[in-house]
Symmetry: C2
Subunit: 214 residues, 2 copies
Amino acid sequence: MKELLEANDRLAGDNRAYFASRHVLAVNLMGSPGSGKTTLISAIAKELGGIPVGVVEGDIASSIDAENLEKQGIRSSQINTCGECHLDSRVIRDGADQVDLKNGILFIENVGNLICPAEFDLGENVRLLAASVPEGDDKPYKYVPMFSYADAVVLTKCDLKEAVGFDSGRFEKGLRAVSQAPVFEVGLKSGRQPQGVKTVADYLRKKYDALKKA
Amino acid sequence: MKELLEANDRLAGDNRAYFASRHVLAVNLMGSPGSGKTTLISAIAKELGGIPVGVVEGDIASSIDAENLEKQGIRSSQINTCGECHLDSRVIRDGADQVDLKNGILFIENVGNLICPAEFDLGENVRLLAASVPEGDDKPYKYVPMFSYADAVVLTKCDLKEAVGFDSGRFEKGLRAVSQAPVFEVGLKSGRQPQGVKTVADYLRKKYDALKKA
């Protein structure tokens, strides 16, 4: 396992150089199954006004997500991990080559898993975690490695807070025990809190602008 | 990885013999983070009328779930996997020894993960999958190993079907492509479809009675 992680980290360095040479901001988007990662990507893409967007889609099976994104005009490649529970640096490079993005933001949608992806650096610039309200307010207490790994947290499906009895204070307290990451709240189905998506897009645009200047 | 799985399978055989010698039906309960596994266990326990129940709780961190179950009078032991993404046969034996159940049903609540636990036989008699409605109706298409591994599926949080636009037909079609497992629908927060829990309890009671007779 140690050797595997070391090999991954070396390739992550290569990916980082590859993204930099193309002026690409790479965003590793992680989260549980059904936390709303694909929906979030298409919503953010609409708010990025003009910045080219590409997606590398990771799944253990199926190409449902990449097909949906392509229908919306978002350039995507699908990586099937054949049962593997995370993406690693090696497969990312293949996926990125297929998307062939320059001067833009590349989302890497990781496999739905709140544990294993936090061990694999992909050479990304930003680690974004989609945590959904129905998963519960206790998740930061239980999935510490992931919540401390993320640079920013997007709390999705906020329109369901009342229906599932989500305690925002409890969530915040658990998160703050392990992380200083900003939290963006979104609720896309109902159209409530769509401004949250704009805030995530602004956050990423700033990172992208800084990278272009560097 | 192959050696690790072989070692696990040998210990799974030992666990199976251990459970049989104690007339214990072991239920490996799997599902995504926040799919409602702990809530389901306490609801089923109430419907099992008289059959002793114990729980081995798996989590990568915290003892929130075991504490909650103990408060409800359900004998529990907590296993922290220290970051590991699944339970394996070795840790199960320690947890089961702590609970020290005889003539009853032992729930093994696996780590919240829709991928990795499907590779590790724990010596259980029944593999139960909690899949929650907010995770989406596309999950059987994407998480094929887990959906084909389960003996029975409990669809939780069914009271949210309308709010999240869950298509039962699509879910069923995806599941039937890989499995003949029965599906039990429950919705515990709203009190709608509580009869679903009774059906799960009946299903487990039958398995337990068969084991006692064997």
